[in-house]
């Protein structure tokens, strides 16, 4: 197993390098001359040349990339000129909040999605299946940013059950129960689409597995239907469900952008939206790169979990 993990880690390095190249290239899409933009009315040809030299913009793209990645590796992601603080500090501070939100959603969507998927596969074409299918359809068609607003209207404004925004109460909050109370609505909203997707794929995976010869063998052994479904079929289906959960990690990390804006959750997504509006590009660059790196690592974890479940994959 350690050898397998090591191999996967090595394979992740080029992927992360690739991510950095794409982020670098995207930033090169920016129309106009950055020095010109920076200098505004002071943009004499002389000044532009000086700024370009100072920022390293007079070098070739590959050179610029190498310098940039070298800085990143030393933890220098540049400074946010709007917030006037190092990008890395801001990103890491925000990322904690996003991880709490996205993590909670991932747990919700995995548990609920898998349960709903199994039940609807087992009761295929029955009422439970129809109800699950109906909710799945609503889930995957629902704009999360709208659902968040509806939740706020009902749970926070109408029934005053849960706080409408933020991560902690302004006065007297700050402990775990307070955090959980604030977490429920945004995490549930963020999980809704992913739950639908997981339920749908779990249902399909279960139905696929239930057709396999080894399920017939399990039945021929005289195992109870519960053992056949929850031990034999689910175990085999889980192998194809786990990568889907890995992908959902990406969806909740990205979807957090909407949810954090709707619920004023002080996370990375909210920061990114603000940074895009103020065109704080280094902050966008750093935030996206770090979130993407974490996503790659989560998928690596999913790969390892899959290999632990399926001995055939370890080779």
């Amino acid at each position: 197993m350690p050898a397998y993990i090591g191999k996967r880690l090595l394979a992740a390095i080029p992927v992360i390098l690739g991510l950095s190249i794409i982020v670098f290239l995207v930033m090169k899409l920016i129309p106009g001359d950055p020095a010109q933009a920076l200098l505004g009315s002071y943009a004499t040809p002389d000044n532009v040349a000086r700024i370009n030299r100072a920022l390293g913009l007079d070098r070739s793209w590959p050179e610029q990339y190498v310098i940039w990645i070298g800085n990143l590796l030393q933890g220098d992601f540049g400074r946010s000129y709007i917030l006037n603080r190092p990008v890395l500090d801001e990103v890491l501070e925000r990322f904690g909040a996003t991880l709490i939100l996205a993590g909670a959603s991932l747990v919700i969507c995995s548990v609920l999605g898998i349960l709903a998927g199994i039940v609807s596969a087992v009761r295929q074409f029955g009422w439970t299946d129809r109800i699950v299918t109906f909710f799945v359809l609503i889930g995957i068609s629902m704009p999360a940013f709208f659902l968040g607003l509806v939740f706020i209207l009902f749970f926070a404004v109408q029934w005053k059950m849960l706080p409408a925004s933020g991560m902690y109460a302004v006065y007297g909050g700050g402990d775990l129960p307070d955090l959980l109370r604030h977490l429920i609505l945004p995490a549930a909203t963020l999980a809704i689409v992913a739950t639908g997707v997981v339920a749908r794929l779990t249902r399909a995976a279960m139905l696929e597995v239930l057709r396999q010869d080894f399920i017939r063998t399990a039945r021929a052994k005289g195992l109870s239907e519960n053992t056949v479904i929850y031990r034999h079929a689910f175990r085999a289906a889980l192998v194809s469900i786990i990568p889907v959960l890995g992908i959902q990690a990406g969806f909740v990390l990205g979807g957090a952008v909407y949810i954090e804006t709707v619920f004023q959750w002080p996370g990375l997504g909210q920061m990114l939206v603000k940074a895009v509006s103020t065109r704080d590009l280094l902050l966008v660059q750093g935030g996206v790169l770090i979130a993407a790196t974490v996503y790659v690592l989560v998928n690596l974890l999913a790969d390892v979990a899959q290999a632990m479940l399926d001995p055939r994959l370890k080779a």
Partner: protein, 595 residues
């Protein structure tokens, strides 16, 4: 091969056109009509009697729904929400569909070229696509909008770019699978250039996949562009789509919730109609879903017998099968697979059930314990008496209790019939524990003992191996050990040696023979090989087209076969050193049989 017969019923229904199939799916039809209605209304926006969506009217701001002249009320600037909704829907549709078209165009192009060219081009293109996919979905779009600047067109590009990988991957997969098909080779040999082959031969065959991918992603893309607009990164005033309507109304959420709810529900309905339609299209174009191959099989085959036989049979041998008929439900009718099958099997006896593929041997074997996949399988008539009691009259739990305990199965291909994720020791122990709760430890040692019985050397350590780590012969021995787990009276071996090498075959048959002698087992051996029957069976029943055409003492039948089909089957066993003579001998027997 026998499995095929058991799981896929003959497609007897006449094919309906794709359109008819789509309309037969009520949800998809509802989606289509809803979507069509939305599209038509959105397109008619310029001619509908609507107030100008951009005219502000401060005195009449935030009017509630159903106000005079404003069905859905007005927004924070006093603009008519209904009018803005219809115009906004037009923008959202246009943007979503354009993004889908762009993603489909570039994604499919990448997929086609990569899949067709293979080699370095393929690796470079697909590595690039993998990189795009390595981003958390919406974050890359945000980065692109950040670089290009907020705006509807830029949001459209961003969403299109992040969706390219879905198309590229799907289309590449299909392209790879057809690039070496005969018709593509033929086109190449006829002198067509690569581009011509790609676009005139490959593309038409890839088109369904492109359509499926488009229909399943367009709703998503509308949702995502609306999302970017909601965040203020897409449509900029005065242009507005559904997302930006919602985003602007958010500030008045508490005072005028309708201004948010109306566009929100519109996005939801639009996306849902597309998803319903998209699922319908996918179901129509995906042949697997059409055949019902993904129905969940029930624990016991459906039993719908025309007549109810006596529940018990006095003085019966170990197994009596009477007038057993099983068919496959094709929706309109039940296509029979076996008809009126009757035979008897005593303790310590071996009955061979022989016939060609599709003759109904496996369906017979599986019917005995209700193991025919159902749907579509249905037992339509007959009785199966185990020790004089009809198992098909038993309650489901009682029947399951007999499986593996009194009647055990050995299946054909042990690689697919053993669970790939459990060790073989676990699987044998599980069979024991299902009927005899003696505890894990005890079950494990009994499993190891059973493995030794069936001749697996070093059983204690092999018990922790997974099926894929064993050879075919060893796997079949595990299958037999599993069948022996509860000391059954009857073993049904369904082509137990077909997937094995000839030398291994002989040893497995020898093992079955030895076990039968030692334990007094009744053995029902299903095979297509008269050589095997001659070697091990006391009696033989010959099956053809779902019926038993001849049965009796093996030696008598070998000496004097009555039925033509039996003669042919016997003739098909080659003798060692016979050489060309074999074909000359067999050919005339089949000459008149050929249509």
């Amino acid at each position: 091969m026998t499995n095929m017969a058991a799981t896929t019923p003959p497609p007897a229904r006449k094919r309906r056109s794709n359109w008819q199939l789509l309309m037969a799916n009520r949800l998809a039809a509802a989606g289509l009509f809803l979507f069509g209605f939305i599209v038509i209304v959105a397109l008619l926006a310029p001619v509908l009697p609507l107030p100008n969506p951009d005219i502000t009217d401060q005195p009449n701001r935030l009017l509630p729904p159903f106000s005079a002249g404003h069905l859905f009320g007005t927004d924070h600037l006093g603009r008519d929400i209904l009018s803005r909704l219809i115009w906004g829907t037009q923008v959202s549709l246009l943007v979503g569909i354009s993004a889908t078209a762009l993603a489909a165009l570039f994604g499919s192009l990448i997929g086609l070229v990569a899949g067709y060219a293979r080699g370095a081009t393929d690796s470079v293109l697909m590595r690039f696509v993998d990189m795009l996919m390595a981003f958390p979905y919406i974050l890359l779009a945000i980065a692109i909008v950040a670089a290009l600047g907020p705006g509807l067109l830029n949001a459209l590009y961003a969403i299109a770019i992040v969706n390219i990988p879905f198309f590229a991957r799907n289309i590449r997969g299909v392209t790879v699978s057809i690039r070496n098909r005969e018709f593509v080779d033929a086109a190449r040999l006829s002198g067509k250039g690569h581009a011509a082959v790609l676009f005139t031969e490959v593309l038409p065959n890839v088109l369904p996949v492109i359509v499926i991918t488009m229909s399943t992603t367009v709703g998503w893309m509308i949702l995502e562009t609306a999302g970017l607009s909601f965040l203020g990164l897409g449509a900029q005033p005065p242009t507005s789509d559904l997302g930006s309507m919602l985003g602007q109304a958010r500030a008045q959420l508490f005072t005028a919730p309708h201004a948010s709810i109306v566009p929100g529900i519109m996005i939801f309905i639009l996306v849902m109609s597309i998803n319903l339609l998209g699922d319908g299209i996918r179901d129509v174009l995906d042949p697997r879903l059409r055949s019902g191959a993904l129905d969940r099989p029930m624990p016991v085959t459906r039993i719908a017998r025309k007549t109810r036989p006596a529940p018990t049979l006095p003085d019966a041998p170990a197994l009596v099968v009477e007038n057993l008929s099983t068919g496959f439900d094709t929706g309109d009718a039940i296509t029979p697979a076996i008809r009126d099958v009757s035979f008897r099997l005593g303790k310590g006896e071996c009955l061979g059930l022989i016939g060609e593929s599709g003759s109904g041997k496996s369906v017979t074997a599986l019917s005995l314990m209700g193991l025919v996949a159902s749907p579509p399988g249905v037992i339509t008539d007959g009785a199966v008496y185990i020790e004089g009691k009809d198992v098909l009259s038993l309650r489901e739990q009682e029947l399951i209790g007999l499986r593996g305990a009194r009647v055990a199965y050995v299946f054909q291909d042990p690689l697919t019939t053993l669970h790939p994720l459990f060790t073989v020791g676990e699987q044998i122990a599980e069979a024991i524990l299902a009927h005899d709760p003696i505890g894990r430890q005890a079950a494990h040692s009994r499993a190891v003992a059973l493995m030794e019985t069936v001749g697996i050397r070093d059983a204690a350590s092999r018990a922790s191996a997974y099926p894929h780590e064993l050879s075919g012969g060893q796997r079949q021995r595990i299958g037999i050990a599993m069948a022996l787990a509860n000391d059954p009276d009857i073993i049904i071996a369904d082509e137990p040696t077909t997937a094995l090498d000839v030398t291994v075959q002989a040893r497995i048959l020898e093992l079955l023979q030895q076990l039968r002698r030692e334990r007094g087992l009744a053995l029902l051996l299903i095979t297509h090989d008269f050589g095997v029957v001659a070697q091990v069976c006391d009696r033989v029943a010959v099956m053809k087209n779902g019926e038993i055409v001849e049965q009796g003492d093996t030696r008598a039948i070998l000496r004097d076969p009555q039925h033509d089909y039996t003669k042919r089957l016997i003739a098909c066993v080659p003798e060692l050193g016979e050489g060309h003579g074999f074909l000359d001998r067999v050919r005339p027997l089949f000459a008149e049989a050929r249509p």
